[in-house]
Every structure is written in C-alpha cells, then in structure tokens.
Symmetry: C3
Subunit: 471 residues, 3 copies
C-alpha cells in the first residue's frame, strides 16, 4: 500500500545501473531547503496564519490541473464546487465533491497531479491507503481534522517544508499589505513578491483603462501620457523591490517584442489608452512594453521573466460563466527567434540584464531557446513549465536543452503553483527527475560522478537563487 | 531463425525490470478480442468471402507503406505491379514483383512494416525463415497455395483473428450493399460501416458537383440548396447508422472549423455548389461542414472523427499518372487551438458530443491535443496515426499525452488499415508497446501493478468500444 | 581520471543488455576509415602542411560552439581572443584565453563539445587529467609543444585519423589553388572540394553584385544576363568537379524552391542583379536558384545538399562589430512540404537526381523529412545537423526518421566541422550512438544481430560514400 503510494525509489530510472547513481545523487539534495522564486500562493495565508478550510476547498477548488481533468470527463464545474459569476447555482457540499473526486481518481493515472497528491496525502497527512471511493470519507475526515490543528497552519507548514524563500506574484495595483505585515512581524519566514504588470501593460486585460486610472491614483503620476505611465511603472517596481521583489513576470500571448521610437510608442500608447485599439495594436503595445520593462530592469536590476504562449480562456462559454483560470488555457506555437529580436537587438549583449524565458511550446527547446540562451548573455532558460512540469516533461526539457545551452544557462526549478501543500512534492519530483537525468549521463560516461553531485545541488538549489538574484 | 523473425519478447523494453512487468501485463491482454473501430478493409471480402488473389496482389499492391519505400529507392510503380490510369504499361508479373520486393526487404529495417510483415509471414503463413531474395520463391508459393484453401478465406481469417467488430469506411454515395448482405446473412462476423462524407463535403474532391447530384438522386433531396443538402446528409447518416455505423470520419487538410450564420453558410454553399469557389472558400466550406457534422452528431449520436493535416497527392506527376493513394501524402503542421475554436465555442461543453481527434503533427500532442482533450468534455484523443502507428511513434504518443490528458481521454487503438492480414500484427504491436509504457510507469513507481493490469486491458479493448460507442 | 575523461563504454546505452550488443557492434566499425563528405576545414592546411599555431588559436578561436557558450555567460569575445572588424581592441594573450576557457570548462557539462574536447585532449594529446583552472597551464604547454612536432602537422594527423576522403567547402569564386596543389603533389591524402554557390546565388549575401562581376571575370561569361549567369555557374561547377567535387551545398534561410518560367526568371534576375530587390524577391530568387541547381545536377551528376533554416547573424551588434559566424546563428521553423514542392514537381521523380536534405527544425524529422525521403526517389536525409550533432540529437534523429524512411534513405554521418582535430571524436560519437540505437532494436527483437552488424557498417561508412557518389 504505502509502497504503491510513495516508493522511496519513485521517479528514478528503472534501469538498476542508473537507479543506483540516481539514488546516491538524490541523497545529497533531498534535504536542501526549498527555493521557490516563482509561484502563486496567497500571501494572506502567511500574514494571517489562519487554518486552511476543508480538503475540497484546499485541494480541489483552487487546483485547475485537478478540476480540468474531472471536467474533461463530463463532470460540471458546479458539481466540483466552483461558483459561477452570477452565483446562480447552489454551492456544492464539500464532502460530496470530495467523494466525486475520489471516485474518479483513476483519471489521474499517468499524470503528475497523481504523484503530487499522493505525496501530499502520505507525507503531509500520513494517509497510507490509496485514495478511492472506499477511502474517500476517511481521507476527508483525516485531512479536515489535521487542518484544524496548529501544526497545519500556513506558517507551521512553511517551516516544516523547509522553505528558504517563497515568491508570490502580485499586480502593480496591489498594496502589498500582506507582505509588509509579514516583513515587519516576528515571523522569520521569507515571503517575497513579484511584479506582474499584465493588468496595466496588456490593453486586452480586463478593465485596462480603469487599472491605469488606479495606477495614477497610487503613484500620483499622470498615466494619460506615456512618460507619466512609464514613471508610474518605475515607481511601482521600486515599491515592489522594497517588498522583497527580485523579479518581474510577464504573461503574454506571444514572445513578440518591439523597439519603437519614443514618438511611435507615445502615440501607440494614446490609442491604447483611449480603449479602442485593434488586435494588432494591442499586440504591438505588449511587445513594446517588454522592451520598456527590459530597459527598467537594467536600471533597477529586477530579473525579467517572460511566460508566453498561452491562449487564455479558450473556452468562451466557461469564461463568460466562471471567468479566468478555469483550466481552459491552451498552449500555442511560439516564435522566439523573430519575436525577441527587437528587444535583443537593443539589450541582448548587456551582461547585467537577466531575462528568464519560459515556453509552452516544447519544439522551441532545442530549436530556439537553447540556441538563444547558449549565446546571449542576458538570457537564461526557465524550467519546464505548466503542463510540462512533469516527469516526462522535465526529461524532455533536459534532453532538448542541455546539449546546446548546458546546465548553467538554466534557472533551476520553479513550482509555479497556487497549491501550497504540493510545493514539497513538486520540488521533490524535480530533484528526482534531475538526478535521474544526471545518473544517465554518469552511466553513459558523459559526466563523472563528482560533477554530477555538484550539478544535482546546483539544479536543486543554487541555480534558482543565482538566476533570480536572491541574496 | 524463428527467434529473429518473431521473438516472444519482441517490442518489450529491453531493461529486464521493465520487461518482466511488460510480459506479465501483456499476458493479460494478448488474447482479448480485436476491436477495430476505424479501418479501410473492403466489405466485399466479407460479403462474398472469395479467396484472396496472389501474394503480390494481397500484400504489396494495396499497401502504400510498402510500395512507397520501394519507390523511394528508384523502383518504378510499374515494376511493382501498379497500373497507371492510361493503362499504358504491361501488367507486371506478380512473381517478379514479389522477387523484387524480397530482394529489397532490407529497406524495411527499422520500420513497423517489417514487423507487421514478419508477423503475417510467421503467424499466418507459418514461414520460419526470413524473407530474402533466396527465400522469395518459397514464400510466394507457400502464401499462394494457402490463400487457395478455405482456412484463408476472409471470413475464416476474421474468425481466426478473433475480431469482435470491424469498421470499414464508405462514401455517403455507397449503397452499403455488402454490409446489408453481411448483416442479413448467417455469418455472425460483425462488420460495420463508417460515414465518410469528404466526397460531398469537400469542394476540392474529385467530381464534387456530380457527387452532389448523385446525393440528390439517392435521397430525393434538392442538393442545389443548402437546407436540402444538409437534409440529404442527415438521411445518409441515418442510412449508415442502420448499417451499423457508430461513427463518422472527416479527412481534412487542416483542423479549421467555422461557425457561420445560416445565411452566410447558405450563400457559401451556393458558390461552392456552382463549382467556382476559391481555395479559401473551399477551406471555409470544409470548416463549416465540420461544425454542421458536429451538430448532426448531437442529434444522431454518431461519434465524429477528425483526421486533419495530410497534404494529399503531393507528387503531382504520380497523381496525374496513377491517381490517389500512391504513397505521396505528406503530413503538414496543424493548428488545433485556433482551428477548432469555432466548433468548440458552439459545442465544446456538450458532454453528449464525442469527437475523436487525430494528428500527423506530433508537436501538437503535448502542446495542443492533450491540453484540449484534458479539458473539453467532447474531445478524445485518437491513437498515434499513420506514420506514427509504430513502436517509437506510439511511445512518443503516450509520453507526450498521458501527463496532461491521462489515459482515459484516449480512444484505445485503431489499426486504420486496408491490409487485412496485418490487423492482428498491428493490434499485437500496440498491445506490446502500451504494456511496455505501463511497465515503465510501474517500474518507476508512478503506477501500481494492479492499476497497470486494468489499464492494459482498457487500452487494448474497452476504451476503443467506449470511445466509438460500440455496444 | 582517464576513465572519467574517456571511458571505453562511453555513449553506449547504460542498460547492460543493450550495452553488450552496442559494444559488439562498435567493435566492428571502430576502425573503419573516416569518410567526411561535408565539412569546413581549410585546404591550405593540407596543401602547405605547416604546423598549427597555439592551443587557443587551434581549439577556441575557430570553434563557435566553444566561444558562444563562454559568451553566453558574459565573457566578451575580445577576452576570448577574437578581433573585431575595426581592430580596435588589443589581441588577447592566448595563454590567458586558455586559462579563462579552462576555468569555465564546467559550462560544457552535458554538451557534445565537452566529449569532443576530452577526446582530443586524451586521444590526440595524451592528456589524462581533466581540464580545469588547475591543469590549464600544463594543458597549454603540452598541446603547444606537440603541435610543433612533425607528428602533429596536418598531413600527419590526416593519416593518423585514417581519413579516406575529406571534403572542404568553397565559394564559386575560389581558385581552388590549394586543391590543385594537393592533387598534383606526392601526398596521397584525398581532399576534395564542394561547390557552395551562396555568394553568387543569394542576393542578400555580402557583396553580391561584386561577386557576380568576379564570376564574370573568372568565366568570361556575361553575368549581366540570366543565361550568361547560368552558364558561368555551369562552368564553375565543372571546374569544381575537376577538383574532386562530388557535391554542391546550399545554405538558405528557408526550404523554399520555385519553378519560374525562363522569362520570369530572367526578369527577376535583372531586378536582383541591379541590387535593389525586395526581401520577397531575394527569397524568390534563392528559391528559383535551387531549382536551377537541381537542373544542373541532373546534367553533371553533382549531389545537391540543401541546408536551410538558420537565421544567420541574429545578434545585430555582434554582426556589425565582428562579422559572420560569431555563434549567433539561430534555427527557425522550416517548411519542407510546401517549400520543396516546386522543385519536386519538376524533378522529384528523377532517380538520377540526388538531393540530401538537412534541417535545424527537428519537428520536421517525422512530420516532413522522413515521409518525403521515404517516397521521392531523389531525396535522402542528411544526418542530424549542427546543434543536433550530439548524443541526444542523433538518437532523436534515428528514432524520428527510421520508422518512415528506414536507414537506407539516410546519408550516413557528416562531421560538418572546421575543427579538424575533432573529426575523429565526432565520427566516433556518431558510431557509438548509432551502435546504441541498433543495439536497442536488437534487444527489442526488432532487428536481428547480423542485420545490425551490416547496418552499423553502412551507417559508419558506406552510406556516406554512396549518398555523396564518392568513388
């Protein structure tokens, strides 16, 4: 039972020669602190330190990996406890939602969610029998009861998880009150923010114009004009830096960048600000803003993350009824070679600039990203992202990037999650997979074991700190 | 000798840990009946039950995998026994064709054709020495003589192959006479049809206008107008359903769908019907027809298969001389994310709609298809198709889809073949490869063995029945 | 130490079942002569046979794989010993450059450069301790001293490397003086040229117009008109053939081909010749020239190589300062299916035409290139190229092409290098990886061992000779 849920050798190569090496490498990194430089947990958890709610509220409703799979098999979101924007449906009973989830747990066979969830059940809650319709109630009660105890409050878990630093992600309009509270209090946990300007740099973001008004109000800058708008952004970046931010994050539909003249940019801004730009103008504005953000990064040394290539809210009906983040974001082809060129032509050779690139298009690993990162001093590859944050996904990532970009142009691991309890599971998976990849190199005599030991530790810990400029 | 041709452990992982598990899993699925829900065998074989012709006519001439490879090495199609449309060449002597094939058998090293052919030679005809120039005559005689016996007639082989159900594919203009004969006769073999409307939904299909006239004649509907045309299609779908069809099939150059207004669609039809539409109008019409077919599927519950992405008849010279299906169909990049959106916006959340997606662009497995199928209730992934119906192709398929879509959003296996004798070989290959994939998951402790046993059987048998709504 | 640097089993599969087979297969090909039908060594080395310079000049400055990786980590090209076009910087001290390289040698972990370099250090120079900051001086001195001895002159190394034939690559404007000298001298080494017409067929090449003037001067043809221009190319091809060329080579940004009428082509040439063509016209002209070159290949039997898909000189700043080949060429998506069709429609069925296709877009292996090469008699697949000339790259290449194109539609191995000393290392890597791929097929009973032995030798030796028509 226990064995099936969480075998000590899980995720290592099955070939005994490689497994032995992987096991040895893993023993050297298993207990390293967790560095989580990119994620989406709620800072309120750590500032307020209230107990988490019930198992359904904690583990199903916020996890779009989980409910998208159930939805794909015809289970409605209402039955899973999600509430539509009109609030027209009765809230589902959390125990019934849990039962529904448990009785469909086989859907997750072969997925990383299955491994993360089993890790949470076993390691965090001490559950030793597999989840199923039969064990659903016992699971629910055990988890619910433990969540009510002090040992399962957010700060206690943060410490138990051995998290050295955890970055959250906030809008430029956020007052960062929770971060201020954490940083001024007694608790020593290191929770930092990340500057995510999409709500004020993407003309297609909900309420873009109102967001710019709010930005003006927050900063005292005149965001009706481009220079005031840029100054407002500069101010907010500095405000974020004061709350621990070491990085910015940019979620764009494509990797397009632009390098307009000051005059062109200002008049494009006027069109965008007026709220009636075309699709192409919106794209061009976002493209220009990546280059502006790079310019500001050169000034304030915030690391710049670019996360392109997601077709957000692909399911129109669900978006209308439930809003964003309903598991309907779908990857698209992404062109980095032409897309990034304007930005790179301006700043590509600046060794002080740090840009971390992510992708949802795995074909770009070997064709575009590794060749770019293996040349431009400002570029680093972020880890396998989103759907590819998985055993096979991480293996493909390493196999497709290491031969051209090496290991030292990569940024270690990100968990990128809002599922706080899964953070140790995700880092553990990444460490196991990376140790397996290194074990294969050692077994094929492409690397010696001492090098692999050092690399294992760099991939698990120090490359992330270095890439994100975390002190 | 025998060993080299057909080892009992063939296609299992070579790593002994995984091989043992794979062997065990395979033992549980080896003898399951064959469910073949998508293929291109000739129903006349089963209605008439006449003996097959000679080895060349049976195994080479209809198999474009085989003759394309020989052609690629400079052997003309005439020498391989194919007849051009003008009938200008002398028919080749079948024994000489066989000799030519045998003496080039090394070309198939590393290809799935080699494994299927060896399976046919060994398992069906009892040939134990490898095919070569030296054994060609013996092969020819043995096969020819056996084909003349009652045990090698189509119905006897169907039973020997343990086929539970076999779907063929017909044009809407087909009278389904062979199916009617099979279904009204004494023979208990279950041969069903599939509704493949391309000849009447693709304006670029040969004789499109004449086909619509024929459709009118068959149905009594007025296919000069859109509504009559749609009614005619509805009628033929019902006719196919009465002959066992549970599915439709759509072979399109792209995955484009459209959702025009009734008025737009009707006037587009008028243009298309008049026979002078542009390339873009033809594409838009096909796109619109996928959405219309989905609407009809919601009414009549036929499962909808979409097979996009083949550049048909790429070799203009061969097409002019020999016609379709000469091994010159070449895959192209396919965009499902934008392509399918109009259809999905209209019907994507209907749990009663069943659409099975195929691809010839493997980059879409992890980037587009698994994310789409892991979200939309109406979508299921068809198996690795055509060039990818192969050991490495099937492994890439599973590794690239299972982590996002799981196993339960996939449709089991299709053999998709007109090479009747290869059907057991193809299902056997798929079962072995899937057992190997599952064995790897078990060996890496990502799945327990009991789960793998159940999954092996689902992948080999029940998922196909379920996905195709076969009773 | 030695073991870590160059283990006898390196690059074989770590699974013992496969390793044993791979080791056996490799033992049959290890000592086969090197056939190097495509590369970029300097023929002056072999005609003049002077001693190579210092280690930095030999191993770092000409190797863009090496300096691009160092540059990606913020080390300037000047510090690596490269000289900008303005000559504004002081030449770096070669010993300091070497020290810098050695102290960053960990950057190459996981890359093929690391394996090639270790091979050179150990096999050619007998160095047995790993390169590091600590051993840098010893390395420098050892290599420098050996290079001064007769045994390390180009011809001696050529013989020691057991090179049967080595092709270099020259511009049509080259006088091939070094080849003439080699061929008329006593030395028996077989160094041949390759016809690379880009400087006179690509309107965007530096000094295109001047190149055409020079072409006129060399041939006596009037290159102001299309027919004279074509005749001049014909003449130069013949001149190259007389200096051993068996092939042409075409480095184009895309795989586009065109088949214009003679009149269209002539007027396009007039525009291009006048030096003010648009980007689209330049592309169309290059496309047309591929078809013209195919036509000439049918006449003179030179094998045609197409190397598309590199975005050359992506880093504008470096290009302006240092010129071409500064490690900033980045792969792009490539479309062979539509791109090659005009050429294939004209010549695709000519069994006497030989075109070898390369790619920097691995997604085309299974989707486009293998299906095309597995059908068209004129097409052969070149080996994994450039960034993919690596253990994982070569494995992906075989796994993605062999099932559709087999092995016999591939062209064996190319080293494609200007790093002369790495040639044995590169061929050795390819042989080991191919033996590993074959061993996997044998271990999975997809091929028998006798076949694998023959194939290993074909992949290592005879397919290259055959594909390049080397006598």
């Amino acid at each position: 039972m226990t064995e099936a849920m969480l075998h000590p050798d899980r995720l290592f190569p099955s070939n005994p020669v490689e497994r032995d090496i992987a096991r040895h490498l893993y023993s050297g990194v298993r207990d390293l602190p967790i560095v989580s430089p990119h994620g989406h947990t709620d800072p309120a958890w750590f500032s307020e330190n209230r107990a988490f709610g019930n198992p359904t509220e904690l583990l199903i409703i916020p996890d779009h990996y989980v409910f998208r799979m159930l939805y794909s098999q015809g289970i409605s979101l209402e039955k899973l406890g999600l509430i539509d924007k009109a609030g027209s449906s009765q809230p589902a009973d959390p125990e019934q939602v849990w039962q529904l989830f448990a009785s469909h747990y086989h859907l997750f066979q072969g997925t990383p969610s299955r491994i993360w969830l089993d890790h949470v059940f076993f390691e965090i809650f001490g559950l030793t029998e597999p989840l199923s319709a039969a064990t659903a109630d016992r699971y629910y009660e055990t988890i619910r009861d433990k969540l009510a105890t002090p040992e399962f409050r957010p700060r206690a878990l943060f410490e138990r998880f051995n998290i050295e630093v955890l970055a959250t992600t906030e809008s430029p309009l956020d007052d960062l009150g929770h971060h201020a509270q954490i940083q001024s209090g007694d608790w020593t946990g290191n929770v930092i923010t990340t500057f995510r300007p999409d709500p004020v740099t993407d003309p297609e973001f909900e309420n873009f114009a109102a967001n710019l008004d709010e930005l003006a109000a927050l900063t005292g800058e005149d965001t009706r004009h481009y220079s005031g708008y840029l100054d407002a952004l500069r101010q907010r970046r500095e405000f974020f830096r004061q709350h621990g931010a070491t990085a910015t994050d940019h979620g764009h539909p494509t990797a397009a960048t632009a390098d307009l003249t000051a005059k062109e940019a200002a008049s494009l801004f006027a069109v965008v600000r007026a709220g009636n730009c075309s699709i192409d103008e919106a794209e061009l504005f976002r493209a220009q803003m990546l280059t502006e953000m790079a310019a500001m990064s050169l000034e304030d040394h915030l690391v710049m993350q670019i996360h392109p290539g997601s077709y957000r809210n692909h399911n129109q009906t669900l978006y209308t009824r439930f809003g964003r983040d309903m598991g309907a974001d779908i990857p698209t082809r992404t062109d980095y070679v032409n897309g990034l060129r304007p930005l790179l032509n301006r700043f590509g050779n600046e060794p002080d600039l740090a840009i971390i690139l992510f992708t949802l298009d795995e074909t770009t690993y070997s064709r575009e990203l590794a060749p770019l990162a293996g040349h431009y001093p400002c570029l680093t590859l972020g880890p396998a992202w989103w759907f590819y944050d998985s055993p096979e996904g991480m293996r493909r990532y390493r196999h497709s990037t290491m031969e051209t970009a090496g290991f030292h142009n990569t940024a270690g691991f990100n968990d990128d999650t809002r599922a706080f309890l899964s953070i140790p599971a995700r880092h553990d998976m990444a460490r196991r997979i990376d140790c397996g990849v290194l074990a294969n190199l050692v077994a094929e005599h492409r690397l010696n074991e001492a090098e692999a030991e050092t690399l294992a530790s760099q991939l698990a810990y120090s490359l992330a700190k270095q890439a994100y400029r975390i002190p």
